[in-house]
């Protein structure tokens, strides 16, 4: 449904997006993950025909964003980072205007607006002037304008920014419900959002692709080393020394390092050589030295770790 091939965008000499390629299948929800300033918005603006690419190409629903911009624009619903609202209009008249310029015909216009307002729970404020709405409602109107003409492709730029937790959950559920019928690209810098709503993830950082795959495959891809989490009672330095002696252990870090309280129980993250299970050896070593083993479990790499890892690795490569 969406095909991005070697896409680059330069502003002057600065590359906002550099040589990105990815695909989104029909009906899929793609999470577009990256820190602020990574190039998410620029990529989305290219996909919505707002900006032209410097090189490379992007196709939406089979149409090229540069050559067949009108066809692409007919097929997409776009929610920019700052919802494009007219503060002097009421919610109903605003959605009516958007539906009209998106090509919704006279007969279906009213029902399209009604259905959309129902969908994002705006019916109660339909005659309120947008300028008087709270941030949460404004965000919902922004989402409504992307949905009103029921486009096959939805491009949502940080749709949950500035909402309270309850609203965030509502919006996420709504977006999740859009998958299947709609192809969705959702950008965010909030990780749980992606793991909760998206089937596939593209991570970008500094304009470059830093990782791509399902949440599971990304986790697997990054498991070059296994880690364990251990909670052990005893003097930290001594415990650490013992842990480091066990065969297969690469690195040990502990939580409360340097806080002066050396005696209390500490939490240790133990990185081990991949494919080796050192849990039994570890447990034995700890007990043999007279420390109290309170907890020992394998640490799965969360998406958060992947994200941090991918983006910081990029940074260290660049700094070197």
């Amino acid at each position: 449904m969406i095909e991005v091939t070697n896409l680059s965008k330069y502003f002057g000499d600065v590359a906002a997006v550099a040589d990105i390629s990815f695909r989104v299948e029909s009906g899929q929800i793609l999470g577009f993950l990256g820190p602020n300033g990574a190039g998410k918005t620029t990529t989305m603006r290219i996909l919505t025909c707002f900006l032209p690419p410097s090189s490379g190409s992007a196709r939406v629903a089979g149409h090229d964003v540069v050559e067949e911009s009108m066809q692409v624009r007919r097929k997409i619903g776009y929610m920019p980072e700052h919802p494009p609202l007219y503060n002097d209009m009421t919610v109903r008249s605003y959605l009516g205007f958007v539906a009209r310029i998106k090509g919704v015909g006279g007969a279906q216009l009213k029902s399209a607006v009604d259905v959309t307002m129902e969908r994002v729970a705006l019916t109660e404020v339909e005659n309120t002037i947008i300028g008087h709405l709270s941030k949460g409602y404004r965000q919902r109107v922004g989402l409504a304008q992307a949905l009103v003409h029921d486009p096959p492709v939805l491009i949502l730029d940080e749709p949950t920014v500035g909402l309270d937790p309850k609203q965030i959950i509502e919006i996420r559920q709504l977006i999740k419900g859009l998958g299947g019928d709609h192809t969705v690209i959702l950008s965010t810098h909030i990780l749980p959002e992606v793991s909760m709503t998206c089937e596939r993830i593209v991570i970008i950082n500094n304009g470059k692709l830093a990782g791509e795959g399902t949440p599971e495959s990304l986790t697997a891809q990054l498991r070059e080393a296994d880690s364990l989490l251990a909670e052990i009672g005893g003097p930290r330095a001594a415990v650490r020394a013992v842990l480091e002696q066990v065969g297969g252990v690469l690195q040990v870090t502990s939580d409360g390092d340097g806080d002066g309280d050396d005696a209390g129980p500490g939490t240790y993250t133990i990185t081990t050589r991949p494919g080796t299970d050192v849990r039994e050896a570890l447990a034995r070593a700890v007990v043999e030295h007279g420390f109290a083993l309170r907890q020992l479990r394998p640490l799965d790499m969360s998406l958060e770790d992947i994200y941090l890892r991918l983006t910081t690795e990029e940074a260290s490569v660049r700094d070197a």
């Binding site: 919505t48 007219y86 002097d88 310029i101």
Partner: protein, 261 residues
């Protein structure tokens, strides 16, 4: 067409739900009413002096003073200067505000062509202008009550006004499309309009050919025929081609974001 109407309706709505239309109409009508009153008083004075002189010189059967020449034309001449000041304020928000608030992102990612967008906005502004200008017809109704003005030149004068307004608005929209700051938009459009207004002044110091060109470009030059009751295709073509040209430049400005790779 449907897109253009949607944009047109949105712009009209926004003029009338904000105080903009009312304030501009109010200020304009107050100023033009004040000027019209003064022109009338002046005409009255001239009539008195004229009548006294005629009596003193004992000349009967002298032609009476021309109401159209001394009131109607005079009034039109001051009205266009007020519009020169007011129109940039009508047009300043048309694109600058969309850029500032980010709604331009909605418009340019919707299946609306630049021409539809531009024409919708242009026609909305022109209609508001025409409505306010039409209200000044009341003044000539007052003339009709007490005298007998010739309505031909009045109507052709209004046609000239519609064309002049279109030209002013097209320049104002260009100014608005160039920036996202409304104050900059006003100043740029005002500067361009004033330059076009005064362009024939430099004609007096230019060579014969350039003098002709400069005179041709002047806004007032082409308005005078209309106010005398002459509808000359040359003048109509001038205004229409001017409007076309500046709207064309504006559309290029808006689309330029699509070529800047």
């Amino acid at each position: 067409m449907r897109n253009m109407i949607a944009v047109y309706a949105k712009e009209m709505r926004s003029y009338f739900v904000s105080p903009v239309a009312y304030v501009i109409a109010g200020v304009f009508l107050f100023l033009s009413g004040y000027l019209f009153r003064n022109i009338l008083m002046q005409f009255n004075q001239w009539c008195l002096i004229y009548a006294q002189r005629a009596q003193m010189m004992n000349m009967s059967g002298m032609p009476s003073l021309n109401l159209n020449e001394l009131v109607v034309t005079e009034f039109f001449a001051v009205m266009d200067f007020i519009w020169l000041l007011v129109i940039p304020m009508l047009t300043m928000r048309l694109f600058a505000e969309e850029k500032k608030t980010g709604t331009i992102e909605l418009l340019l990612t919707s299946p609306v062509s630049t021409v539809q967008l531009l024409l919708g906005k242009f026609l909305a502004c022109l209609s508001l202008y025409a409505m306010i200008v039409a209200l000044t017809l009341v003044y000539f109704g007052i003339l009709e009550l007490y005298g007998s003005p010739d309505w031909g030149p009045i109507f052709s004068g209004y046609l000239g006004y519609l064309l002049l307004g279109g030209a002013f608005i097209s320049v104002g929209i260009l100014g608005s499309a160039l920036t996202e700051n409304q104050i900059v938009a006003v100043l740029v459009s005002f500067g361009m309009l004033l330059l076009l207004w005064l362009i024939d002044w430099s004609a007096s110091f230019a060579g014969p050919t350039s003098a002709k060109i400069l005179k041709y470009l002047s806004f007032i030059e082409h308005l005078q025929d209309f106010q005398r009751g002459v509808i000359d295709t040359k003048d109509v073509v001038f205004y229409l081609s001017f409007i076309f040209f500046s709207l064309f430049v504006t559309s290029r400005v808006i689309e330029s974001r699509r070529w800047r790779r």
